[in-house]
């Protein structure tokens, strides 16, 4: 009887071990084929002289896509490669600046919207529905909608600002080098604040109500209550939201590509890499740029995770 039970138990355990393998393998093989392997290949291509028209002829050239020194016959030396490419460094700067500014503003606005949505008031459902709309609009569509509103001749934004007396003459928002970056920021903040607000709202809704009751009885002002009670308590939720948005901002491609095409002031690392890969016939150079972008994002993620002490099981 006991032996029979033990036998059955070990058969079940064997079956379950087999099942784990069976259930996980399709997903793992898919991800290995479309993510891990392509990542490795991209990194390898960065060390070759591959061109889009003939990938198979690629030869290993070491770090020359990253940095190379040429000595001219005149004796002058020139540095080539990504690390000596001012266009690349401009793209790095654009990306980091964009991520830092957009995520900071979105965090502040998102917190304000979340605090509003956390109140009980008639019409709250309507506000939440309205807030979800920018999130639901596809990025390309929001880029086009705003491009139309920011049109230099027929745009409603110029019209509004001139009626209010804030502008004396129309601005070419997306084309002018001085305002293109601002235009990108405006559209991104419009589109991404809802996501931030929803994540922060989820954090707010987990807070115990009695703490605020006690604070109110003690005569603590709502303002101080927010900074002394709410903010420390929602810190974990806030941190996760910031990480998600920051990683998203660091890889931004579509908005920039459509709203401000071919503009050195807004070109990001992703745009730089994609265009070198597929438009400029510099496949190897683009691969090297992709690799550097990956490294930058990995480093920043690592930094956040160590600083924030995130645990996937705990969340």
């Amino acid at each position: 009887m006991a032996a029979g039970f033990a036998g059955r138990l070990s058969a079940i355990l064997r079956g379950r071990r087999f099942a784990v393998l069976l259930f996980l393998t399709p997903m793992l093989v898919t991800l290995a084929g479309i993510a891990a392997w392509p990542l490795v290949r991209t990194i390898l291509y960065g060390f070759t002289n591959a061109s889009l028209s003939d990938l198979d002829a690629a030869r290993f050239i070491g770090f020359r896509n990253y940095l190379d020194t040429l000595t001219l016959r005149s004796g002058r030396t020139i540095h080539t490669g990504l690390l000596a490419d001012p266009v690349w460094w401009q793209a790095v700067w654009n990306t980091l600046r964009f991520a830092a500014i957009s995520v900071s503003i979105e965090t502040v606005f998102g917190t304000i919207v979340a605090l509003v949505l956390n109140q009980r008031f008639p019409g709250r459902g309507l506000v939440r529905a309205a807030v979800l709309i920018p999130w639901a609009v596809p990025t390309i569509v929001s880029a086009k909608m705003w491009a139309w509103m920011m049109n230099d001749q027929f745009g409603i934004l110029n019209d509004m600002l001139m009626r209010l007396g804030l502008l004396s003459h129309p601005i070419a928002w997306t084309a002018s080098p001085d305002t293109a970056f601002l235009a990108v920021l405006i559209v991104d903040i419009w589109k991404s604040t809802p996501f931030m607000a929803l994540l922060i709202l989820a954090g707010l809704q987990m807070l115990p109500r009695d703490v605020y009751e006690a604070a109110r009885v003690d005569g603590v002002s709502p303002f101080r209550a927010f900074f002394d009670i709410t903010l420390p308590l929602i810190r974990p939720a806030l941190l996760v939201a910031v990480i998600f948005r920051a990683l998203d901002a660091l890889r931004i491609f579509d908005l920039i590509y459509v709203l401000t095409p071919n503009n050195a002031r807004t070109e990001t690392m992703s745009v730089f890499a994609q265009q070198n890969l597929f438009s400029f016939d510099k496949f190897a150079y683009g691969s090297a740029a992709s690799t550097l972008l990956f490294l930058v994002v990995a480093l920043i993620t690592l930094l956040f995770v160590t600083l924030g002490q995130l645990d996937p099981e705990r969340g």
Binding site: I34, W135, A136, I140, M145, W148, A202, F253, G286
Partner: protein
């Protein structure tokens, strides 16, 4: 008393600003799309005409109708594959004990968060080797990069939270793991599957980078790329009316979907980010 009145007014003012700011760009796209001819070059804050000429032009000229079908196909197949692969993997990760589970979950989260450009060159090579360049299947395959980790992540969290020992009796009765998944967990998981399926659909419907890179002619484009590349007779003549009509056509279904499933989507987003 007066203080409280002022506070209420201020609060509702803030509410009004949030609503107008959120809705206005889409509202403006809608009223622009209804204008015909030169009326479009006149700035109006309220609807002035209800002409359908832009919609007719977008749907009959060119291949935009085909682009919509392409997007539908890609998004639906991506959702189906993510759910099949995601449910089985999520079940294994949530209800079985084995080493490396945590590592696996972390690895998947990083896959969904890393920049897609990082795999672009290598993925292009894979897709060409499979003969899928300029095929809709190249998009299905590449979209799994972000829909699959997310689906696995959320479904794992959902299945893990179910009562311990739910399947114990079935295990001891000798039911196979597949049968346990289908008969016990699948019915209970339906809400989470609807949520993750919707979110996967939306991301696939909106994706731009892979769609731009892996398709090369107009008939194979998905809607975001088609809208981005919509151009007029000359380079300097941007068909704003058509672009706005196309934008409204692809956005209205999404907005309706999001508003109907509001609660589901919000809980899915936060489950993916916070609970995960």
């Amino acid at each position: 008393m007066r203080m409280r009145f002022l506070k209420t007014v201020g609060f509702y003012l803030l509410v009004a600003v949030i609503i107008v700011e959120s809705v206005f760009p889409f509202y403006y796209a809608i009223i622009t799309a209804f204008k015909s001819g030169n009326a479009i070059f006149h700035v109006d804050y309220w609807p002035t005409s209800f002409s359908l000429s832009n919609y007719a032009a977008v749907l009959t000229q060119g291949v935009f109708a085909r682009n919509i079908l392409n997007s539908l196909f890609v998004a639906c197949v991506t959702v189906a594959l993510s759910l099949i692969l995601g449910t089985t993997a999520g079940y294994a990760l949530a209800r079985f004990r084995f080493g490396g589970r945590k590592l696996l979950l972390f690895a998947m989260l990083s896959v969904s968060m890393f920049p897609q450009v990082a795999v672009l060159a290598g993925l292009f090579e894979v897709i060409r080797a499979l003969g899928l360049y300029n095929s809709l299947w190249s998009l299905v395959l590449s979209y799994l990069i972000f829909t699959l980790p997310f689906t696995v992540w959320v479904l794992t969290a959902f299945l893990r939270d179910m009562p311990k020992g739910l399947e114990e009796a079935a295990i001891m009765d000798g039911a196979s793991p597949l049968r346990i998944l289908v008969q016990i967990f699948l019915p209970l998981t339906t809400p989470a599957m609807v949520t993750t399926g919707l979110l996967a659909f939306i991301t696939a419907w909106n994706e731009f980078l892979f769609a731009l890179t892996f398709t090369s002619n107009d008939a194979q484009r998905t809607v975001p790329v088609a809208i981005a590349l919509l151009s007029g007779a000359t380079e300097f003549e941007v068909p704003w009316g058509n672009i706005m009509a196309a934008s409204v056509i692809v956005t209205v279904p999404l907005v309706v979907l999001v508003l109907i499933f509001q609660r589901r989507i919000v809980s899915g987003l936060t489950a993916g980010a916070i609970k995960g």
